[in-house]
Amino acid sequence: MGGTMGWHLLRGWTVLVYLFMFLPVAVVVLLSFNASQFGAFPMTGFSFRWFVELAQNEAILRAFRTSVTLGVMTAAISTTLGVLASLAMVRYRVPGSNYISTLLIAPILVPEVVLAVALLLFLNFLGINKSFTLLLFGHVIFTLPFVILVVQARLISIKRDIEEAAMSLGASPRQTFFQITLPLMLPAVLAGALFALTISFDDITGTLFWKPGGVETVPTQIFAMLRNSISPEINALGTVMIVLTVGLPLLGLAIARTLSQKRGI
């Protein structure tokens, strides 16, 4: 566009857009190390005291345990369902596959608030009140489409030839699946699980509808703490969350890259 001048303008704009996306989050991290007892500027010094206080706050630790348990169980269930469905969609010719794929991503086409209300009211009607079970069902259903999208995208790149070779060398379908297909699929499965875990860990929209009174996940705990005022503890908790939800996937990515380089794929 308009030569290099225009390109420079566009690049400048892009830098501003990235700053807009990251600066506020960077400020959360910065303020979590603030020695001052108010969660705001000015910075009076560098301190880890808010992280120490976090580790001693029983409510926050409880919220953390709830979030981790919920996230891990959600990831396990929704990855299992998602991997099976993705295998069917990628490996077989399914009649009406267009409709099936739309069905499979339907939970993210419905606004999350509506999904939350529908699930809450229906399961309550069946006698399942606001509970951990309800939270788990809710998290599974809205992480499932994301798992399917991620796993499908990666499954496509695995060639069937290798499996056919194994079969022609005398491996049974079962042996082929466990010794050939599954190891090849592992990165896709892990990516799906990590995605489900992160989404579940971060969710608040549905969680506020489904959680029983007194039970908090980390995001709802932060939300409840915001009602008073922003404290350095919230910023510290935010920092821990950022490190976990950004650090873990990055670590996963790095491990996956190293593994695939070693294998020479």
């Binding site: 990235y18 996306m21 506020p24 400020v27 469905a85 794929s101 499979l104 999904l115 599974v140 860990f201």
Partner: protein
């Protein structure tokens, strides 16, 4: 059983757990709240089973609900437009950059992994009475007293743009990436200026991505109740806040059902129109 029959049955066995879950945890519950919306909340607090039109009459005729629905659509429209204006050039730069494309893309994915509540509340640190901006302005001597910049319509839009911008950029990027750059060069060699080549070749070809990003921004923006609670004032309630109020605070589940279905109808109509003209494939490209 023949090999073919087994081959034909296998995908359905693999699909059945996921499809059962979606059927039981999404479609049946949605049908259930359709029924529920015709029940009646009685003064004793119990729900009376039956076929009453009261909730629908209230939801559809009360000016209070209509105004908040219009306000919600207005906020979502502004948010989507701002996302498009901010995001399109950025997506263009990422798609056309050579050296640091991988880094820019990785950075673009990071916000998806940072909790929505944290990104939303981060603006309190920036715009709050003792936030970064007030502190800076006081220090510079521009103002003598901190100003309350938070808790209004603008900060709601700001929070939503911050939350939804990555969706827009990613979708536009995916469609720009799919355009053969030779097309622009061809237009240039045929005498078009770079500007003309962009407006007449690249932009039209990237419209599906812009539409997909716009749809996501609009639907996600119009369905939120957390952002107005954290960054809005008392008068900035959006439609999803009404749903939350009815279901969680007032425990008026029949009315809450009717309100949820209204929101679903409005946003679902948009998704259907989109699907009719552009198809779901574009949307899935951006999401995967």
């Amino acid at each position: 059983m023949s090999v073919e029959a087994r081959e034909a049955r296998q995908p359905w066995i693999l699909l059945s757990p996921a499809l059962t879950a979606i059927f039981l945890l999404l479609f049946v519950p949605l049908l259930f709240i359709v029924v529920y919306s015709f029940w009646l909340r009685t003064s004793t607090g119990a729900d009376q089973v039956g076929f009453f039109l009261d909730n629908w009459r209230e939801a559809l005729s009360d000016a209070f609900y209509r105004d908040i629905l219009l306000f919600t659509l207005k906020i979502a429209t502004i948010t989507t437009l701002v996302c498009a204006v901010m995001g399109y050039p950025a997506a263009y730069v990422i798609a056309r950059s050579k050296g640091n494309k991988a880094l820019l893309l990785l950075l673009l994915m990071l916000p998806f992994w940072i909790s929505y509540i944290i990104r939303t509340m981060s603006w309190i640190n920036i715009l709050g009475v003792s936030g970064a901006l007030n502190t800076a302005l006081l220090w510079l001597g521009v103002i003598n007293e901190p100003i309350q910049m938070l808790y209004n319509q603008t900060t709601v839009i700001l929070g939503l743009v911050h939350f939804l911008l990555p969706f827009m950029i990613l979708n536009v990027f995916v469609s720009l990436e799919g355009i053969d750059t030779n097309l622009e060069d061809a237009a240039n060699s045929l005498g078009a200026t770079r500007m003309q080549a962009f407006w007449q070749v690249t932009l039209p070809l990237s419209l599906p991505g812009l539409a997909a990003g716009g749809l996501l921004c609009f639907v996600l923006g119009a369905g939120t109740y957390i952002t107005p609670l954290v960054l809005g004032g008392p008068g900035d309630a959006m439609f999803a806040n009404l749903v939350f109020e009815a279901i969680i605070t007032q425990l008026n589940w029949p009315l809450g059902s009717a309100l949820s279905l209204m929101l679903l109808a409005v946003l679902g109509a948009l998704v259907l129109i989109y699907n009719r003209y552009l198809g779901m494939a574009q949307l899935m490209k951006g999401l995967g």
